[in-house]
């Protein structure tokens, strides 16, 4: 496998930023998945696409808008009616999905090189994300595994809750550096550790 080049470049500054008191409120890192793929269903083919995702990844999507599930190496969540973002640390997921999603069923779009995956974890993750996005990050409103498609100004973001205090964000690779820098600034108040 060819070594991935991070779009964050010199904006990735490991170490502690901002408030130095106590433990870090948030920890920022890149998860660097090998595959980020959108699987979309034509109306009426939603179940077939969900079954194809399960066959290719072993992940069983729950019913309902924005439902999702995540493991240490794979994740899937709904981002729109009949549309899912599927993530795998291993490359080649689009090719593994395509046999189960022929053109009459839906569309498989490989976004691996078009998105960057950013993880924000820690006791203040909800607080810091709430500065940037106008959605409810409380566990009751945004359950474990669930996904949301939202935006910070013109930066579209697909967000999945992958832990009680942890969210994975998928943003345009071309905007990743400025978005990352803004996340670090937003986290400085509560102590931000970059890993």
């Amino acid at each position: 496998m060819v070594e991935q080049v991070s779009p964050l470049g010199s904006a990735w500054t490991p170490g502690r930023h901002g408030n130095l008191a106590g433990e870090a409120g948030v920890v920022l890192s890149e998860t660097r998945p090998g595959s980020i793929v959108q699987a979309a269903a034509f109306p009426g083919s939603e179940k077939a696409v969900m079954a194809a995702i399960a066959a290719a990844t072993g992940l069983a999507l729950p019913d309902g808008a924005g439902g999702g599930v995540a493991t240490d190496t794979k994740a899937v969540f709904g981002i729109a009616p009949g549309r899912f973002l599927v993530i795998d640390q291993v490359e080649g997921l689009a090719d593994r999905l395509k046999p189960g999603i022929p053109v009459e069923t839906g569309a498989v779009t490989d976004l691996s090189h078009g998105r960057t995956a950013i993880r924000i974890a820690g006791p203040q993750a909800e607080w810091v994300l709430s500065k940037l996005f106008a959605i409810d990050f409380a566990l009751a409103a945004f359950p474990l595994g669930a996904g949301r498609a939202t935006q910070h100004h013109d930066v579209l973001a697909a967000i999945q809750r992958t832990g009680p205090d942890r969210f994975d964000l998928y943003v345009f690779r071309s905007l990743a550096r400025s978005f990352w820098t803004m996340l670090v600034h937003a986290g400085e108040e509560v102590g931000c550790e970059v890993r």
């Binding site: 924005g66 729109a80 549309r83 949301r148 498609a149 939202t150 579209l156």
Partner: protein, 97 residues
């Protein structure tokens, strides 16, 4: 103003793009009635009150929506997928999907 997307739930209006008056109906594409086309393209009644309009949840699920909104109070009475409205209109007119 919050718009409750049928897919995403209540979201800030900043996530949405206005796409115009949904109360108009387009003349038959084969029509050469200049007055009908002129009215379709340019005439707006500037409603004060309940207004049927298209929005897109451009900063979320990207669905096209039909919203019934009061232009006086911004109160929103209904939000539906435009796709479902179109399907309903097709069924009513008996034309194929």
């Amino acid at each position: 103003m919050l718009i409750t997307c049928p897919c995403c739930g209540p979201r800030d209006v900043a996530e949405f793009t206005y796409q115009g008056d949904a109360s108009r109906s387009r003349p038959d594409p084969a029509s050469t009635d200049q007055a009908a086309w002129n009215a379709y393209v340019y005439d707006r009644v500037n409603t004060a009150g309940a207004h049927r309009e298209y929005w897109q949840h451009s900063g979320g699920c990207r669905s096209h929506l039909v919203v019934l909104r009061s232009t006086l109070t911004h109160r929103i009475d209904s939000v539906r997928f435009a796709r479902d409205e179109a399907d309903g209109a097709r069924r009513r007119s008996g034309s194929p999907a």
